[in-house]
Symmetry: C2
Subunit: 222 residues, 2 copies
């Protein structure tokens, strides 16, 4: 029995499976056979739609990052929410959004074997999100909440740090985590020359109820 689908539809089907398999087993440990067996298509079909395994990875990451960046864009555009809260929401959205899917993939992604995937994702994310956060910071500067001569670089610096240092945060003890977060806020306030404690004050409203890790929703985040 032969099922014909539109190219786009089939591609997405492939990407869905790839996303699940790469996410659960990693890129190197997923063979192209795994993918095409799971879907039930022939080898030729896979290579009709993608010209290499790496192209599948790239397309998958592309699709994924587009989703994330779209969410981020929505957050930034909520002009009625205070700047600093939107900033916090941005940070959070990258680590808890999409149900617990990102959780699962993040656990995979920072294993050494998935370095390629990790780097590609980080590159994309950085390129896509930096301008958005930068815009946010400029808003903050305009409002006199913060100040820096190099908003773009300030964002790069902090965002990069969040992504690398907080990636393997899960392996740390609870107090270690708290310290890392506190230190980050502390230094973020310095970089952006904010009133001491103003960042913490912005974060608190988002946590007024205790949250189970990685699940329940924030008041603003989707």
């Amino acid at each position: 029995m032969r099922i014909i689908k539109e190219a786009e539809e089939r591609k997405n089907e492939i990407l869905d499976v790839a996303e699940r398999l790469f996410g659960s087993k990693g890129f190197d440990n997923t063979s192209t056979n795994d993918i095409l067996n799971e879907i039930g298509i022939a080898r030729g079909t896979l290579y009709y739609h993608f010209k290499s395994k790496e192209e599948i990875l790239d397309a998958m990451i592309d699709r994924m990052m587009k989703r994330l960046i779209e969410k981020a864009r929505e957050i930034v555009s909520q002009k009625d929410v205070p700047v600093l809260q939107r900033l916090t929401m941005m940070m959070l959205s990258l680590h808890v959004s999409e149900g617990n899917f990102n959780q699962e993939i993040l656990e995979q992604v920072h294993k050494p074997q998935n370095a390629l995937m990790h780097q590609k994702m980080q590159e994309r994310l950085l390129a896509g999100i930096t301008p958005l956060i930068t815009a946010l910071i400029r808003e903050g500067i305009a409002q006199g909440i913060c100040q820096t001569d190099y908003p773009e670089e300030a964002v790069e610096m902090t965002f990069l740090y969040v992504n690398v240092a907080f990636d393997d945060l899960m392996e740390q003890s609870e107090e270690e985590k708290q310290k890392k977060i506190a230190a980050f806020i502390y230094h973020l306030e310095r970089i952006l020359q904010m009133k001491e404690g103003s960042m913490k004050e912005a974060i608190m409203p988002l946590f007024h109820k205790q949250r189970m890790p990685g699940s329940a929703s924030h008041p603003y985040v989707k």
Copy 2:
């Protein structure tokens, strides 16, 4: 013809070649055959000394980082040199030391295909160097030159940024580079709450002669 060597000697021979080949072609694009052909040993010999290709990579990085960290340790221990100059030297040593070897490997290392190598090196480097720089910062704090409640995290943040952002600095235009560096110093001064411009003043003495990129020696660096 059969040449028998002591294990250590042979291992180092293998690592030498691996270092050169991984450095010039990347990890994935270097086959185990490339390595053993170049040395003129058999397949079995290679696997007698190392149990996998990845173990070769790990050992190579280990050896490399030990050298780097040793140099860094020497720099830190030069108590007669002002703290901020030593700090600068640390940063520089990681990007220009060892002749122009690092240059070559750094160019390779930040290509997407070498993500694994890059990540492993960064992890090692971060773990090895952070404590050294942190000690330096504590000296600075004791001298009243800078101040932070979280020296360790401040170091992690800045050092991580240097490594990631300055890795692909070579591809940027000259003015882009200058801006990035200026921004970094600007924010570093803020993070460590230093007198504005004090970092720049510390850097200048190291550059009193114009230097050819990546070659001639600094007054203090080795």
